[in-house]
């Protein structure tokens, strides 16, 4: 095993193909130390902090002049506000608007974490299932509790498809319940999986650049993937947010 490792390192020294596509996702302490405790300041801390600063720069500093005729930054901030506000209003209804700040928080965090993760050498916090799962389960529990608090037992009507024939209803109820509990899983894995896959693929293409003959093709492929990832970064944030709105709508208006 040790000799094999040595062999691999030799290959690396000789400029052979070395793929470490998953290294970029390793959580490591920023200021030395070996262990990662819950309070350790790691690259996760750093990039989440950068995310917060970026959001503050856009939505607080960018709008500080409160101009009637907005600057570019303020315009982008207003666009983001209008985009999510309209989404919440359209999908979850008028009474969903009071949950707008929570949904805006999720959207801004995800979209900024995704885009910041596209910077070279950056760490993509949303590529970790631990992060997306916390958000997905937070949405899941919040929506479920909200559904029961607002509607009481009537919330269970969500699983009882009254428009279907009576004989089918128990089967449909089972399917509905399963799909309901799968929601947080798909919700979180969709985001983390998309972010991880794209970044890993870019790294794999980058690994091929070590071969001179393939290097130009590799660079073209990285560029193309990067473009796709820019798109995916926004779309996944959008999807996560709109699904949150859909789940919220289920909690507010449980009939089908």
């Amino acid at each position: 095993m040790a000799s094999e490792a040595h062999g691999a390192e030799q290959a690396a020294d000789q400029g052979g193909l070395v793929f470490h596509p998953m290294d970029q996702f390793i959580v490591k302490p920023l200021f030395g130390g070996d262990t990662v405790e819950w309070y350790t300041i790691t690259n996760v801390t750093l990039w989440m902090g950068v995310t917060i600063l970026a959001i503050i720069a856009l939505l607080v500093l960018g709008t500080s002049r409160r101009a009637i005729i907005p600057s570019r930054t303020q315009s982008i901030g207003e666009l983001a506000y209008g985009f999510i506000y309209k989404m919440v209003e359209d999908v979850a209804g008028k009474d969903g608007v009071k949950y707008f700040p929570y949904i805006m928080t999720l959207f801004m965090f995800i979209v900024f974490a995704n885009f910041l993760g596209l910077l070279p050498m950056a760490f993509t916090t949303t590529s970790h299932i631990a992060v997306t799962a916390v958000m997905a389960f937070a949405v899941f529990f919040a929506v479920t509790i909200l559904g029961f608090v607002l509607n009481g037992p009537k919330f269970l009507g969500l699983f009882w498809v009254s428009s279907a024939p009576l004989a089918l209803r128990p089967i449909l109820a089972l399917i509905e319940i399963i799909s309901y509990f799968v929601r947080p899983v798909s919700h979180s894995i969709r985001l983390a999986g998309n972010m991880m896959a794209g970044h890993a693929v870019i790294k794999v293409f980058a690994g091929f650049a070590a071969i001179t003959a393939i290097a130009p093709l590799s660079i073209v492929a990285i560029t193309a993937m990067y473009g796709l990832e820019v798109l995916v970064s926004f779309i996944q944030a959008y999807v996560f947010t709109i699904l949150t709105c859909v789940y919220l709508k289920d909690a507010l208006h449980p009939g089908h």
Binding site: E4, H20, F25, T42, I68, E78, Y81, A130, M135, A192
Partner: protein, 190 residues
């Protein structure tokens, strides 16, 4: 063989990363996402981040942007209302202008007609007066001419008589005045 290579790569990776990563790689070869030892750290910092973002958004950013958007909407509505008001005023002013213009035109027309009528009356009077004067002058002139003509005829008769008498005398005859006058009268009639 394949797994061996994979492990070898993992080892090389772990060596490069140092001891900590070595342990991590041992715990979760391949996916750092499934290295549960880092979950606590990520979840803690995620919660801190989300809480900070939530407070920044709900206390500062969102009310401010909402207020700006509402204010802009209000400004736009006000401006449109003001513009409509001004437009109505402009239409009103134009109507008033057109009305004043029409009135002025009518007044001007009336004054022109009056003036024309006055002038025509003056002109007619003057023409009539002139005609009358001309007629008087013509009558006077005709009378004078008639007088002159009569005098001329009388003079012609006198001159003819004297001339005839002189001619007859020169020829050695003696003409009595009555015969000469009768002959001249006869000639002048012819």
């Amino acid at each position: 063989m394949a797994t061996e290579t994979h492990e070898a790569v993992g080892e090389g990776l772990a060596d490069a990363m140092g001891v900590a990563a070595h342990e991590a790689a041992d715990a979760a070869p391949g996916m750092p996402q499934l290295d549960f030892s880092t979950f606590g750290n990520q979840i803690f910092w995620l919660l801190v981040t989300l809480v900070v973002i939530y407070f920044v958004l709900s206390r500062i950013a969102l009310p401010r942007i909402g207020a700006v958007l509402a204010e802009r909407q209000g400004t736009i509505t006000n401006d449109i209302a003001k513009a409509e008001e001004l437009k109505a005023k402009a239409v009103e002013a134009e109507d008033a202008y057109n009305k004043a213009l029409a009135e002025a035109r009518a007044e001007a027309g009336r004054i022109i007609a009056e003036t024309k009528a006055e002038m025509q009356a003056d002109l007619d009077a003057a023409v009539a007066k002139a005609d009358a004067e001309i007629a008087v002058k013509v009558a006077e002139g005709e009378k004078v001419i008639a007088g002159i003509r009569e005098n001329a005829l009388v003079s012609v008769k006198d001159v003819a008589t004297e001339t005839t008498a002189a001619i007859v005398a020169a020829m050695g005859g003696a003409a009595d005045e009555k015969t000469v006058s009768a002959a001249i009268a006869a000639r002048m009639k012819g």
